[in-house]
Each structure stands twice: as C-alpha cells, then as structure tokens.
Amino acid sequence: MVIAVLAVQGSFFEHERILDRLGVEYFEIRHKSDLGRDFDGLILPGGESTTMGKLLRELDLFDTLKKKIIDGLPVYGTCAGMILLSSRLSNDDNVYFGTMDMTVRRNAYGRQLGSFETVADVKGIGEVPMVFIRAPYIESIGEKAEALATVNGNIVAARQGNQLVTSFHPELTDNTKVHEYFLSMIK
C-alpha cells in the first residue's frame, strides 16, 4: 500500500510522521510529474485552503486528482483538506474538488483565539483527542454522507464512501486511530 500526501503547502510533514509510525509507504505530491506514480490513498493535509486550491490548479494537479477521487480513490482530508472536498462553503464562493455532499463553514470558530482542544467520540473509531486550529465545521450534510462525530452540536467528522474528513488534526497528536481507520478504507 502506498499513500500520496498532497505537499503543496501546510502541515503535510505531520501526516507523514504518523504514516512512518504505522509503517506505511508514502510519497509527496508537489508537481504534476509526481502523479505518474501509482498510489492507493490520498491525504489532503491542513493548511490554507485558498493557497492549496490555487496551487492545485496552477501546478496542474487538480483535474487528475478530482477524477481519481470520483473514481473511488480513498481520500482523507483534515481541516483545509475537508474544505477542498466539500461541495458547498457557507461563507465562501469557492468550491474546489466538491466531491463530498456537505456544506462547510470556514474559520467556523473564529480567529486563532477560538482554536481549542477536546476529546470526543468518533463513530467506528472511539474516543480521540481533537485539535482544532482556525477550524471549519460541517453545517449540514447531504444524504450520501454520514456524520461520524459532533462537538458542541457541530459535525466535525464525516464519511462518504471513499472520502473521510475531519475538522480537527489527529496528525498533531500521538493518536494514530483516525489514520488507521483511513487505511482500513483502502482495500
């Protein structure tokens, strides 16, 4: 099994460290030539969604990755990665891959003073520590997708077939359970 980690901007190194701990092979996607390699799953890390969205298009990665996701490639998006997969943003006109049936609010907890940590249950995974950094949450979710976790009444994790998203950053903790769950989605 080989995982591709989108590495155009943001906190991709921390995902790679978790994959190292789980003994999973991976490589970074920074440029179109990187898409020539075969991979079984894709991680879209945290960072700035506007930056990543622009680089995806300008580095000519967007169409190939979108097609792979639509064709069933397992993908896990954290924070900005969740925004990239969302079909609607309630406070932004941009849509990126738009492959997951949900409405996401960007910077939903406000500025950095609103960033926080908590522990909560994720369906099918159990209790995990959650780190929210200028995080989004899911305001509403379509029929095709399923909510996996809520914090203070807001959806912060969801799955739709091959797509998994979390508002929080398991890669910034020592807990590998969410990544293990994602790897289990890869047949």
Binding site: Q9, K54, A80, D92, R111, S115, F116, H169
Partner: protein, 289 residues
C-alpha cells in the same frame, strides 16, 4: 498562557508551513496577496523599504487599518508590535489578531526587555539571527521564529547568514555529549530544556521561517533549501513591477523549491524586481535591534 494555548499557537504555525506570508498595507493589497496564494498576511502601514525611506519613529499600525485587512481576507492576519512594547501587543490581542510579530522593523520601545509573551493568549513570532536569540525568544513565549535578515533591502545576504548560522549552531549542539549541554545553555543564556530539545531533535521546538530581503522566487527557494520552513516577503512584492505575478511565482517557488526546472519556468518574465539597497550602504541596521 496555559500549556494548551501555547500548543495551539505553535500548531497554527504548523499550518503556515510551506507557505509565504506577505506584507500588505491596504485591503486591496491583502486581497491580491490572498489571491496569489499567500498563507497569511502581515498588516502594516508602511512596508520596510518605505519605513527606511521615511525615517523617524515607526510604530504599531492604526487598528482601523488592521481591521480593514481582517475584514478583507479569510487567511490569518498578523501585525507588528515594537520590541518590548507590551501595550501595543495588548491592543493587537484585543483586535483578535492571529499572530503578533514583535519586530525589529519597527523602532524598539525597550532596549533591554522583550515582551513577556507568556502573558498573552495570541501567538507571537519573533526575529532571530542565531540559535541563542531564537531560544531566548522561545523561552519568553514565542511560538514561531523567523530569521531576521535585513528588512526592506531586497538583499538576501543577511537572511542567508542568519539561517546558515542557526542551522550550523543546531548541528553543533546535536553533536555535543549530553554532559556538555549544561554549559551550552549557560553560553547561550537559555534554559537547559530548550538546548536538550535541539540536541535530541536537530531543530527548533517551533516553526522557523525566513525573512528580510527575499525579492525573487530564487531567493525564496534558496532560503527553503537552507532549511526555512516557509518565507516572509515584505517589500519584495509590492515594490516590484508586477506584484500579482511575482507573489504567485514566489508561492510556487516555495512549494517546488527543490525543482530547478519549475523554478526556471516561474522565474520567467516577472517584470522588474524591487531595486533594493545594499545593507552596507544603509544607516539603520534593523537586525541588530
């Protein structure tokens, strides 16, 4: 500041990695920076090159101007406070700024004491020229470091010197025996546990960006190859002939800093770079503040 809050603040810097933070003076410039792919903007009334040209005392920006920029973009907004001016920092915290830069680019307010950053909930980034300076700022509560360079010159030489110095000092600390670390802590005038962290991990306990003099995509890639985790670009963008194009090119250069073919392509036809001044020819040396 609680442990938890410090961790969250260090983690915001993690999200900025591999990105470019751009100086902007108006909401319009902030929008251009965001559209070009900046991962954050630094709101200030004058960019460093103009601070040099204007002379006089340079202070925190007008809160109204900062709010205008906060309302214009969705990416994190940073702003500068004078070194040691903890009331300017309190004001910036009241504005819910995402990051405070305790910056040598402004006129220092205190020639002995930096701000006690542990007293704040919002994160701070501070400049450093060497490992001792970086670790002292971290001990004071900085959750991100940037090498100082020499702001407003368009000359990358000081940024290179400071990044090389920090990296080589970290390699030296890594090579020491454990019983030698106590003396290093004494020499650097920093807490032992920070020296131990560098010894064990070969890096700073916080994210380290480069700043001060970056003017071209090649400059940005140079700093990344020397070990920067991201880049601040101040005067280099809005003092150049085509800010939109140059900003976007620098963003892409930071992503593909190890790929000369990509760098060649995006360095093409960017228009005039900022004219720049040689640090040897200027009167005010900001890095020594």
């Amino acid at each position: 500041m609680s442990e938890n809050r410090y961790g969250l603040n260090k983690n915001l810097a993690q999200m900025l990695k591999g990105g470019v933070i751009m100086d902007v003076t108006t909401p319009e410039q902030a929008k251009i920076a965001e559209a070009a792919g900046a991962c954050a903007v630094m709101a200030l009334e004058r960019i460093p090159a103009d601070i040099r040209a204007a002379g006089g005392v340079s202070r925190m920006s007008d809160p109204k101007m900062i709010k205008g920029i906060q309302n214009a973009v969705s990416i994190p907004v940073m702003a500068k406070a004078r070194i040691g001016h903890f009331v300017e920092a309190q004001i910036l915290e009241a504005l819910e700024i995402d990051y405070i830069d305790e910056s040598e680019v402004l006129s220092p307010a205190d020639d002995t004491y930096h701000i006690d950053k542990t007293k704040f909930k919002v994160p701070f980034v501070c400049g450093a020229r060497n490992l001792g300076e970086a670790l002292r700022r971290i001990a004071e509560g900085a959750s991100m470091i940037r090498t100082k360079g020499e702001a407003g010159t368009g000359d990358v030489i000081q940024a290179v010197r400071h990044m090389r110095t920090i990296q080589s000092e970290m390699r030296r600390v890594q090579s020491l025996r454990e019983d030698e670390l106590f003396n290093t802590a004494k020499e650097l005038a920093v807490p032992y546990d920070l020296v131990k962290y560098v010894h064990d991990n070969g890096k700073l306990p916080v994210v380290n960006f480069s700043a001060g003099g970056v003017a071209t995509p090649a400059d940005a890639a140079l700093m990344m190859q020397l070990g920067a985790e991201g880049v601040f670009v101040g005067s280099g963008i809005f003092k150049s002939g085509n800010p939109e194009k140059r900003a976007a090119a620098i963003v892409k250069a930071v992503t593909n800093y190890n790929d000369p073919a990509v760098l060649a392509e995006l360095s093409e036809d960017l228009g005039e770079a900022m004219v720049g001044i040689n640090p040897d020819e200027i009167k005010v040396i900001m890095e020594s503040r």
